[in-house]
Symmetry: C2
Subunit: 262 residues, 2 copies
């Protein structure tokens, strides 16, 4: 809408996001922190299979730190089968993958497959097991594929919310258009002419002062300085600041009481 600042819009809840299914979660707090991680990463379809401490849960709501729409939309099921009945493709998160023949995917690859499945009209879900034991074999068998998060071998234990966050993060990132690298600040970059005028003025001034008096080295020095300022990708505003700096650097020092450190 016109006049709407993007900082004022609420969190996004994309309709093609996968469902998060927590099987027999033990603590309300963990459901809450998982819901917060879902909110952070654009997920909102939370399904709980036999939560041990019941539902709704005040502790879950408090731990969700404002992801109320996820908590409010959560649905409770009495079996994993019921929780996944409407889904077309189910992944199971597990660190153990030695005991059954299944595709094992990284979270990144799973994220791509989830988006492809959504693009052709399917709906995916991701199963997470109880905090202490993880998913049992029955639940792993139900899944089309397993997702294992690559972590430091010998120290792979993650809490539930951390696991939800990493899976959600990969899903969100797969659809995110954030540039890999950009310059912040919103200033317009200087034109090439502004940049050349600045370098000309700097060179002239350095020549006047004798800094470039070693004739043979002068071209190299100027080239090095040009590359240095080039790398900084200066804005027009910054070039003005540098012009001012050059102007002031040739003055004699003020007495201390007249100085001001910005």
């Amino acid at each position: 809408m016109a006049g709407t600042d993007s900082t004022q819009t609420g969190p996004r809840t994309p309709a093609d996001a996968p469902a998060i299914i927590l099987v027999a979660p033990q603590l309300g707090e963990n459901i809450g922190t998982a819901a917060r991680a879902m909110g952070n990463t654009g997920l909102s379809d939370l399904r709980l299979v036999n939560p041990r401490d019941g539902w709704p849960s005040d502790k879950a709501r408090a731990a969700a730190s404002g992801a109320d729409w996820v908590i409010d939309g959560a649905r409770v099921y009495d079996s994993t089968d019921a929780a996944v009945a409407d889904l077309t493709h189910v992944f199971a998160t597990t660190a153990r993958s030695r005991f059954m023949m299944k595709p094992v995917l990284t979270p990144k690859t799973a994220a791509t497959e989830i988006r492809q499945e959504a693009a052709r009209g399917g709906k995916c879900g991701i199963l997470f097991g109880p905090e202490r034991t993880g998913l049992d074999n029955e639940d792993l068998v139900r899944a089309n594929g397993l997702v294992t998060i690559p972590l430091n071998p010998g120290f792979t234990s993650l809490n539930l919310a951390m696991a939800v966050l990493l899976i959600g993060y990969e899903w969100w990132s797969a659809g995110d258009a954030t540039p890999d690298r950009e310059i912040s600040g919103g200033h317009m970059p200087a034109t090439r002419e502004e940049f050349r005028n600045f370098m000309d003025r700097l060179t002239e001034r350095l020549d006047e002062t004798g800094f470039l008096r070693e004739g043979d080295l002068a071209p190299t020095t100027v080239r090095n300085l040009t590359n240095l300022f080039q790398r900084a990708e200066l804005s027009a505003h910054e070039i003005n600041t540098l012009h001012g700096m050059i102007k002031y650097l040739q003055r004699t020092a003020l007495p201390p009481e007249k100085r001001k450190k910005g």
Copy 2:
């Protein structure tokens, strides 16, 4: 070493991993959960600038859930400058990037640059601000670049350990050789001959039973079945199971008391 099971080796602590610098962290618990996230992702160089509740911290150790080597190796500094003095490249994590002209990177791009910097002998660090306020402008100015985690706009608030986990995860993933997708279970895939023998037997048996009696459709049906079993990427062991299944499917049903459901 010969006979060493990879599951028995301890967590890895790669020497080229970046330092994690927590500036004025408030709660020991948060330092501990951040240390755990570091352990999960192969990071071990933890630096604390003026931790509010002092150091060492029993609460931090408890919250680290076994990442004792990270806690034991932590060093305390009285300024950010002192904490980053030996580093060649420093990134600052921040959600705010509108007020200064700086390169802003995704965690993935930062991870690549950190590994490139390490490959040429440099050492990187990543600054994280206090829980409530984040890094102040002075600390942002110190950094060579900013890292902003792409998250759901309108719900970007992450706790400290979550932020450390995502940055560490991208760093770990950038050096991780886990296949994007593989079949777990360790069974050898069937040879093409084993697969063909199975399909021949199945086709023969289906032909005997009359399933393929619609002459014109038979080739299509066989092709569909072949594709179906092909997609399953069967192991030799599974093909043996299927041979047994075909054999038994032609028998007459046992009386209920003689059945056994595996």
